[in-house]
């Protein structure tokens, strides 16, 4: 009687342990695999992969700088737009919104976050791009087109469009987290400020914002991480070209990010070993950046919850 339960106990325990260790191991395995596949590129391309401006598989030249810059620019641009939007939404949610509206906002955020990237892509490609081109980019090019970053032909598919789409994609995530954080402001501190005759905005600014600051930054960093790794929507609207930033600095030019480069060139790279290795190394660079960003955000969020 004693043996059977003990056997099952071990079975469950070690089965669960085995699963956990495999999962933990997979992550390590992933890293090592990518790294080993990048070695040809690391040795043959050297720093050129990170700093080179030209990518030509036929000549064996693999410079990834435009793609790396594309990733950095589009992510920071979209964060720069998404963060004020998310903070505004959090303030509205916690200070002004009636309860029924609050649940509508939560639902809208959740649904926006659930829309598949490829659908953002087709919408960006076939609905927004033509509209953006005619009603935004062309007027701008006509009026202030002498400014370099707005110059040149108004392509619809551009790093500008990619950044806009990314903004819409990461705002829900940052907003949801920020709302959570703002909502945790202790009630007795808010009441203390109200009792002094403060307006809702003053209570928010003087009590809620200092309290929420660190958490909102962490949320922003998480949103940034999401933008960095976003593939499909970006690949479908960015134009997939190395024109930006070295042939034209205009944000209305087509460009590449690491993800769009890897996604679009991957099929042809299976026959070119160095090309494949170079794309893998670019992916590795992205992985390292993403993980560092997530680590920073995690550390900040942990300090928020611990310190309160």
């Amino acid at each position: 009687m004693q043996k059977i339960p003990s056997f099952l106990d071990s079975a469950v325990k070690y089965g669960a342990l085995a699963a956990s260790i495999s999962v933990a191991g997979i992550f390590l395995f992933l890293f090592l695999t990518l790294f080993s596949n990048s070695i040809p590129s690391i040795t043959l391309n050297g720093l050129d992969l990170l700093l080179g401006k030209i990518w030509d598989p036929n000549d064996g030249v693999f410079g990834g700088l435009p793609a790396i810059l594309g990733t950095i620019f589009s992510s920071i641009f979209s964060l720069g737009l998404a963060l004020p939007l998310s903070i505004s939404i959090s303030i509205y949610y916690t200070e002004y919104a009636p309860i029924k509206i609050r649940s509508i906002i939560s639902t809208v955020m959740d649904l926006l976050a659930a829309i598949p990237s490829v659908i953002y892509g087709i919408w960006g490609l076939w609905t927004i791009s033509p509209l953006l081109k005619t009603h935004f980019q062309e007027p701008i090019a006509a009026t202030i087109g002498f400014i370099p970053i707005f110059s040149g032909p108004a392509y619809g598919l551009s790093i500008f469009l990619a950044s806009l789409v990314l903004t819409i994609m990461i705002t829900p995530i940052i907003s949801s987290l920020s709302i959570d954080i703002f909502s945790k402001t202790p009630v007795h501190l808010r009441e203390g400020m109200f009792a002094l005759g403060a307006t809702r905005w003053e209570v928010c600014r003087k009590v809620a914002v200092p309290f929420a600051k660190r958490g909102v930054i962490a949320a922003a960093i998480l949103g940034l991480g999401r933008a960095l790794g976003e593939t499909m929507a970006v690949a479908m609207v960015i134009g997939n070209s190395y024109i930006w930033p070295f042939s034209s600095v205009s944000i209305f030019s087509p460009a590449h990010t690491i993800t769009s480069k890897v996604a679009s060139e991957f099929p042809e790279s299976v026959s070119n070993a160095l090309q494949f290795s170079s794309l893998t190394e670019l992916a590795l660079v992205l992985l390292v950046i993403s993980l560092s960003i997530n680590l920073v955000a995690d550390l900040m969020l942990k300090r928020v919850e611990g310190g309160g």
Binding site: L189, M193, L196
Partner: protein
């Protein structure tokens, strides 16, 4: 006798639940009025209606009149102005943790737009002296407000409330979370403050009410049972319910 604050037929609800039933009280100026009653009788809700804090809760509703010097606090004034004139000290001391002692005291003044450094530091000194905290913290004004003991924090909160020169000060069980020594300090402070301010204090400690208040109102299950001079309420209450409560036979 002039009544600074007059409450007429005040009723209050949280959603469907009625917490205050038709309460009418007149608060004499420059006197301490205590509101006593067992837990859940509506005392806190009552004073939160006086400075329009009750309405901050979703689903809260108020009916009746609250007059400050004859002006209807709900219809003739906006909430910000009311709260500046009718200050509040809370049960649990709540100094702002991200602000220094100095900044805590002047928090209300800064909202009013006062920026002059001399005016602010004079105010800090005079208010901290008033609450008897100046000698204890004068060298540590830049330290965070939360570094102080419970009693000191509460006195800091009183200084903060006084800094905007309110006409009425509402105190919601201000000493219930403090030790006896701090309690004594704050009680003597209250006796001094009434010369300049009208004070309404909620307490579940009937001895405290007897010690420091001039007038007392007894609230039970949301209704006012009896109101009058403290001496009369304690020595010869008219209502048997009042008598049972103040002699400690229930609640």
């Amino acid at each position: 006798m002039h009544h600074k604050l007059e409450v007429q037929n005040l009723s209050a609800w949280f959603d469907e639940k009625q917490v205050l039933k038709d309460v009418s009280i007149s608060f004499p100026s420059n006197n301490v009025t205590a509101i006593i009653g067992p837990s859940g009788c509506g005392k806190t809700t009552f004073i939160r209606c006086l400075n329009r804090m009750h309405e901050l809760v979703p689903g809260a509703r108020v009916q009746g009149k609250v007059l400050l010097d004859g002006r209807d606090v709900y219809k003739d004034m906006d909430a910000m102005e009311v709260r500046r004139k009718v200050g509040m000290v809370f049960q649990k001391p709540n100094p702002f943790p991200n602000m220094s002692i100095f900044e805590n005291v002047v928090a209300g003044l800064k909202l009013l737009g006062v920026r002059d450094k001399k005016i602010l530091s004079d105010k800090v000194e005079s208010k901290l002296r008033e609450v008897g905290l100046w000698e204890e913290v004068k060298d540590d004004l830049k330290k965070s407000g939360t570094m102080l003991s419970g009693g000191q924090q509460q006195r800091l909160c009183i200084a903060r409330a006084l800094a905007v020169d309110p006409e009425v000060l509402l105190m919601d069980e201000p000493t219930s979370s403090l030790d006896p020594a701090s309690t004594a300090k704050i009680e003597s402070l209250i006796r001094e403050l009434k010369e300049k301010t009208t004070i309404v204090i909620i307490t579940h400690n009937v001895q405290q009410a007897a010690r420091i208040s001039d007038f007392t109102g007894f609230l039970y299950l949301g209704s006012l049972v009896e109101f009058g001079e403290t001496k009369k309420i304690f020595e010869s209450p008219k209502n048997p319910l009042t008598e049972r409560y103040v002699t400690g036979r229930f609640g």
